[in-house]
């Protein structure tokens, strides 16, 4: 890029998107969705709910570890560190607000479900229609807006894969009359994980690990 005309907006976007070039966020999100599949798997095998919760929580802990250690041990030694300017900080703030709104609506859905406890007639439509519709809309809106704000295009696909999981589970249950939650959550999670690992492999090829001395230069 030796030309003297540089579009600073494009350059800033390039620097920002390089932050997601490692695929670590994709793997993290894939693992989070697979946690539901793992929980369902333990339930299907006839183990008690305790094991299901342990399996589910274990995958969530693994996802968090992958995100934190991946960035620290894979991304930073290969790509270096950057502190983003006001534009980048504004993007993060918007996404944080979005996440907070999504959490509040999620809590509202949970409270709605909790209010039907002990009332099977009232619970059925909530479980069959309201929760799947809420999940789908919430995931599509949340991930699409986050993808737009963060300039992270793969989030549109990830959002779609998250969104289809619950309706797919419900549809399969109604059509086949068997619980296929493992497949309904596991297949989208696997697709996200494969995408993440492909991006990670490309990243590792593009940015080989540097020697320590390369990070400390005499200027």
């Amino acid at each position: 890029m030796s030309e003297q005309r540089i579009d600073l907006k494009k350059l800033e976007r390039k620097v920002w998107t390089s932050f997601y070039e490692d695929g670590i966020w994709d793997i993290y999100l894939g693992l989070l969705l697979s946690a539901i599949a793992v929980g369902a798997f333990f339930t299907d095998t006839g183990l008690t709910e305790k094991y299901s919760i342990i399996g589910h929580s274990g995958v969530i802990v693994l996802a968090i570890l992958v995100l934190l250690l991946g960035k620290r041990l894979i991304t930073v030694p290969r790509m270096g560190t950057v502190v983003f300017g006001p534009r980048g900080r504004a993007r993060l703030t918007k996404t944080q607000i979005l996440l907070a709104i999504s959490c509040v609506t999620g809590l509202a859905a949970f409270l709605l479900l909790a209010s039907t406890m002990g009332n099977a007639t009232a619970r059925q439509p909530v479980m069959d229609y309201i929760i799947p519709i809420f999940w789908t809309v919430n995931m599509l809106v949340l991930f699409s807006l986050a993808a737009y704000f963060l300039n992270y295009r793969r989030l549109y696909i990830i959002g779609f894969l998250y969104a289809v999981a619950v309706p797919a589970d419900k549809i399969m249950r109604q059509l086949l009359h068997i619980d296929l939650s493992v497949i309904a959550f596991g297949v989208p999670a696997l697709a996200i994980l494969i995408m993440g690992f492909v991006v990670l492999a490309r990243f590792l090829k593009k940015y080989p690990k540097t020697h320590e001395e390369e990070q400390n230069v005499e200027i």
Binding site: S2, L11, V15, P77, G80, Q215, V217
Partner: protein, 112 residues
């Protein structure tokens, strides 16, 4: 003097542009540092595609001119070189871009 000629007369001559920034590699370094708050040497090395020696020598020049602030620190056991545009560097970069834009916009059209 017409308005157009007056505007052309007011714009800085091309020879007045900041020669420190005018060098393409240094301009690229300044552009990257302009769009972020700070970055380390490795990040700039990856983004610009310059060689280590080249980047190092250009950064030295920019530091000498007071445009880039260079700090060394340790991140755990790993040494890290942090780079940041100074306020002077930011102003100089903006001024360079404006000057170049005006100087190039006012060049007479060439004959076809």
């Amino acid at each position: 003097m017409s308005r157009k000629d007056r505007k052309r007369h007011e714009s800085p001559p091309i020879t007045d542009v900041d020669r420190i920034i005018h060098e393409p590699s240094r301009y690229l370094i300044m552009a990257y540092l302009y769009v972020v708050e700070s970055a380390d040497f490795l990040f700039l090395l990856r983004q610009t595609g310059l060689t280590k020696g080249n980047l190092s020598s250009h950064l030295g020049r920019l530091e000498k001119s007071g445009y880039v602030d260079i700090k060394k620190r340790f991140s755990g056991k790993i040494p890290q070189t942090l780079l940041k545009l100074t306020r002077e560097g930011r102003t100089a970069f903006e001024a360079y871009r404006n000057n170049m834009k005006r100087a190039l916009a006012n060049l007479p059209r060439g004959e076809k």
